[in-house]
Symmetry: none
Subunit: 215 residues, 4 copies
């Protein structure tokens, strides 16, 4: 594999800085984690977006959350044909091997993936309709959410779709037999959240009202 390049110097320097401080200070914990394995209490499905740090928002340290990050924090429905299902594999591992107690889907404002889906479904992003568009085919998972949007201007409908994206992922989670049985046995609980990056707000999905409310 001749294309790999050395790490940029600024990252090498920062790593050595962390090794001499952050690591040194928590060495015992890192050693325990290495020997004893991980025992995370929750799985979090979050977006790849660089502005969303779930560990900051929830003050979590190494070992607490099993974190899967993909575009727009989506869960596809259960489907065993096809080949490599990265998200489904992560969910399966978290629920059956790690036996996490919570599965949190964390959506957020200004999500580029949700915006792309909105534009695609509105006919304004034909390039995403191509069968060769990985982003377009991935965002197909959210199409049923677009159909459910109410009236409003584009901005408010995109914000609706960001929340719908969380609900659809929760619904898709229940199509996985191992998730469904763990939820029904009371061993796993599902949570839907939406985070406003600029305002720092956090809203939770409330199944009774079908709305998101500040936590």
């Amino acid at each position: 594999m001749e294309h790999a390049r050395p790490l940029p110097d600024y990252l090498v320097r920062r790593y050595h800085g962390w090794k001499a401080t952050g690591y040194e200070k928590n060495k015992g914990w890192y050693l325990q984690l290495a020997e004893d394995g991980q025992h995370p209490r929750a799985m979090v499905v979050s977006c790849c977006d660089s502005r969303v740090h779930v560990t900051s928002i929830f003050g979590a340290d190494q070992g607490e959350f099993f974190i899967h990050r993909n575009i727009a924090n989506l869960i596809p429905p259960a489907e065993t044909g096809g080949n490599h299902h990265g998200t489904s594999a992560a969910v399966e591992y978290a629920v059956t091997a790690l036996k996490v107690s919570h599965l949190i889907v964390l959506g957020h404002s200004s999500c580029g993936g949700v915006k792309g889906c909105y534009d695609m479904c509105s006919g304004n992003a034909p390039e995403l309709e191509s069968k060769d568009s990985y982003v377009g085919r991935w965002m197909d998972i959210l199409r049923p959410g677009f159909e459910k949007l109410g009236e409003g201007d584009d901005e408010s409908r995109v914000r609706q779709l960001e929340r719908e994206c969380v609900v659809i992922s929760l619904e898709n989670l229940m199509t996985f037999p191992h998730v469904k049985s763990a939820v029904e046995a009371g061993r796993l609980s599902l949570h839907g959240l939406w985070h406003d990056i600029g305002a720092g707000d956090l809203e939770a999905y409330d199944p009774a009202s079908g709305a998101f409310r500040p936590v």
Copy 2:
């Protein structure tokens, strides 16, 4: 979606703590990120493992890294048939929409996914061979790595496979036309890393020798 549950209190409390402190202190930055959008310099592909915090290791704050996390930090080869390719969509978005300059694959010690692949390929985990096993079918991406392993005891061979997993992901990255052309134009550089959780060490793949060396 009637199955969602309220967020556990301990997370609600921690969130309010962060809002009153971490958010408050960096509010200007969050507002700028929300209005100006993200401009990450690098994409990092890391494992879902709760023990690996790439932002800690590299002293990175919100906005710096576009982070995809899946089981065993794997990149599948380019393939547009099938349905939802979450990893390929994340790579496509990072390289074509965000135009990141660096794409870093970060492997780590004690990876449960790599161990599962090793057991499966050694005939010791028949359940992972089932066509219904999402984890098994996901870890199929790493099978060619198992074939290349040298002699040794199981532990050292698993460690080899963890590094091989990084190299295979780098190789698969080059099968995506948009990655290949960005690399060849000098707009994107690929980096392979392996992190020892307990020792805190970091090794980088050196294409000249084909080995991993401490950074």
Copy 3:
């Protein structure tokens, strides 16, 4: 302009070395910075002193900090008469055009400008009192700081004045309407630091106590 001379060879050689290594390794990032523009998170006002490298201290690479360097890291008060206000222009650009989230004033030990001001105000540097002394007139900004110094020997009073210099600059920043409104809206935060060159220490101004404390 007939007085310009060719760059000394040692700098030409070092430049070619950087071009072949540092630039080559980070080419993708430089191209992105050139095309996408700068999005710095913070402005730093630091001294011209050759011994103070703010990018080293904070592990910052190209694109992170908008850096203004003048003698003694001073901010003059807002004043629109007169002609060219370089520092005020830099602050205005950072706050209104780049919309930085942090404005950091970084003082340091052994500052020649602060020492000159101390000598001038103590009557030991009459040449700095001349109206033709650019350094003297520039250091006039710090005169109110000298008046506030407590008892002590010269060395400890100079150290006090180095810190006072940071506080006065922070106070002067608040006389600029665009700074004041950004601070009050929570879009900008001000930070005062003092760095000991020999010991490598870093202290931050704490408004509650009015003192500088190790970070």
Copy 4:
């Protein structure tokens, strides 16, 4: 001064990382610099732009360059009326107190200050003409450069103006008596450079031809 805020955590962590590594490794040099004072060989006048790191380009460590950074790396003409002349003070200190041997003006591509001047002089940025605009009044220094621009499209004329900005600063330097006498005595040499951020190129002003040529 009640408005100061604590340094963001990510910078505190990075500082501690530097202290434990970069500082620790070079402690002897920092102690010597602190005790023996600075003896820089050159002064560099560079832009505040976050993308221009003169210490990277020239492989310079602490103690080598006395660096003044302002918007568009401008030197105003000598003028002792008015109040605080930060740039003139920095030049005076470098030439008369530190007795640097080289004074380098480093311009660069995509300079926001130069672009603002170009727009202002073209009648496309009336807000910069306001007497309250610090950036506008600062960029007035470059107005004579706009008058000298040849034919061409806007982009090529802006590029011309970036270079003209370096030449005008060199010319203004010679209006300072202490600079003029040091240059004429052969104790100081002036250098004009222009750096292309994306391509990594460096050009030097050649007084014989009046053009910039690759170094």
